[in-house]
Symmetry: C2
Subunit: 302 residues, 2 copies
């Protein structure tokens, strides 16, 4: 069983503190810390770790222990919006685990965080049943500075823990979501209006695909524009449909797609689905992927 977890911590300026947090995660048996990176202007660090349910639960609690001790939101300044010391904790199903199991894990971890650290916890995305509290942006609106007031208003009692912020650690947002794909399409034009119109056409917020967030940007150095996207559920809104729609919309303005780019990681299932679509492969199964078959044979210990 493999679950990915990507905790975001509100500390990105003191390397020793971040290193101690990374060490606390690495010390948990069965956990791999794949990556961690800090941004000083955001004053924020992002950790990427994988393991089974028990392992990631322990690792996240170890991270909370360090962060609650080290981070003081009252003096924390940074460009990135934040609500708490450990700001966001998404659990992502990767292999041999369902979304429902990740939701259960998020709730278990949320209850433990509230109990052990007296930090209020909001559930988000798949772990939340409340439409007003699914989106991270909605929960985080007002930030740490507005949290005490927000928590007393109707509908903003936390899912776990006290009905007031932790004095230095604020609140945490914990949940479960699909792997996110950061995907950009570059257009062979310098017309920013075209990129913005296409972005508006494909993103959910203005009537486009349900699991697409998008914006249009100028790539100054190259003299071209970009449709920059987050694909938040590649199974329900697949990458190939988004690509073909952008290509078609661009053609409407006489503009060609120059190239696309995957930023960071992409699940192999998302790439396989694109190959399957374009090559019109019928009856394809993931078991036909050589490496997958080998992995299963190894894991089964046959």
């Amino acid at each position: 069983m493999l679950i990915e977890c990507v905790p975001n911590v509100s500390e990105g300026r003191w390397p020793e503190i971040v290193a101690a947090m990374a060490a606390a995660v690495r010390a948990v048996p069965g956990i791999r810390l794949l990556d961690h990176s800090s941004d000083a202007s955001h004053n924020r660090s992002v950790f990427t770790l994988v393991g089974d349910a028990a392992g990631v639960e322990h690792a996240v609690l170890a991270l909370f222990e360090r962060a609650v001790a080290e981070v003081d939101l009252r003096t924390h300044r940074g460009e990135h919006p934040r609500l708490g010391a450990v700001d966001v904790v998404p659990f992502v199903p990767i292999q041999g685990v369902t979304m429902a199991e990740c939701v259960a894990l998020a709730k278990r971890v949320g209850a433990a965080v509230a109990e052990r650290f007296h930090v209020p916890v909001y559930l988000y995305e798949e772990a939340s049943n409340n439409p007003a509290r699914k989106n991270l942006e909605d929960i985080r609106r007002g930030e740490f500075e507005g949290l005490a007031a927000k928590m007393t208003t109707d509908g903003w009692a936390p899912d776990f823990g006290p009905a007031a912020p932790h004095p230095t650690a604020g609140a945490a947002v914990i949940g479960a979501r699909m792997p996110l794909i950061a995907y950009n399409i570059n257009l062979a034009t310098d017309r920013l209006d075209v990129a913005k119109k296409i972005a508006a056409g494909i993103r959910q917020s203005s009537g486009g695909f349900r699991y697409v967030k998008a914006a249009g940007f100028r790539l100054e150095a190259r003299g071209i524009v970009q449709v920059s996207m987050n694909l938040t559920n590649y199974e329900k809104t697949p990458i190939f449909r988004v690509f073909e729609t952008v290509k078609r919309e661009a053609a409407r303005y006489g503009v060609a797609v120059l190239e696309s780019e995957i930023v960071g990681l992409i699940p192999s299932a998302a790439l396989n689905a694109a190959a399957e679509y374009y090559l019109q492969i019928e009856g394809f199964s993931a078991d036909q992927v050589l490496e997958q078959k080998l992995r299963r044979a190894r894991d089964s210990g046959e």
Copy 2:
């Protein structure tokens, strides 16, 4: 390090004999027997096993020991052409191993087979430097029945072992090759001539792509035709180029591609290359595939 090996044995009618061969392979430490299947009319069995170089070497020698003891080519009958008891042994690089290492392995196993079992060995595909002895079909032409005469003719001394066939086990063809992709494209027509013309256009033997073997067939039950292919080097002749060419050639006759199908296994790199091509992904690296990154983290024991 992972090497795939797909020995073909000239026995497909006696399940107990095939089961004993499978057991001999499975008994080798570090070897996984992924699959084995027998065909009675071909009177032939195909084993698919994976492991490191030392493991597959031991497994292949164990298979030779059983096959040389059990198979008698003098009385062997079957539809499939064959030269020996263990007829063909390809080594295929999968992960953490180069083609050059698989070639070296093929030569080492070839020398060992000749020495231990007095079976002459021909090297083929990447393991052969002789253009007349790269193709399996060329080496096997004349079959077991014509082997004694063929071995005395110019240019047909074996690479290892005696210059005459083993009396009951014939000769073996051992080499190294890329993973093979069995790929079919079904056309929305019943015109066999169209499938045959397209097959002729894309296969190497009649002027097409270098690493494509192809033939046109009728799928009687469905009333359609099929271009059936083996892609013998998906890096140099990628699947997407073959698919697009078949689609274009079919359009020439007013015929559409109905669907395609992957028969058996396909390396993930071949699927990723198709996704990359159609989505126009620039600067893509296999390290961006989530599962690959996880596998590396696990294997490195970090």
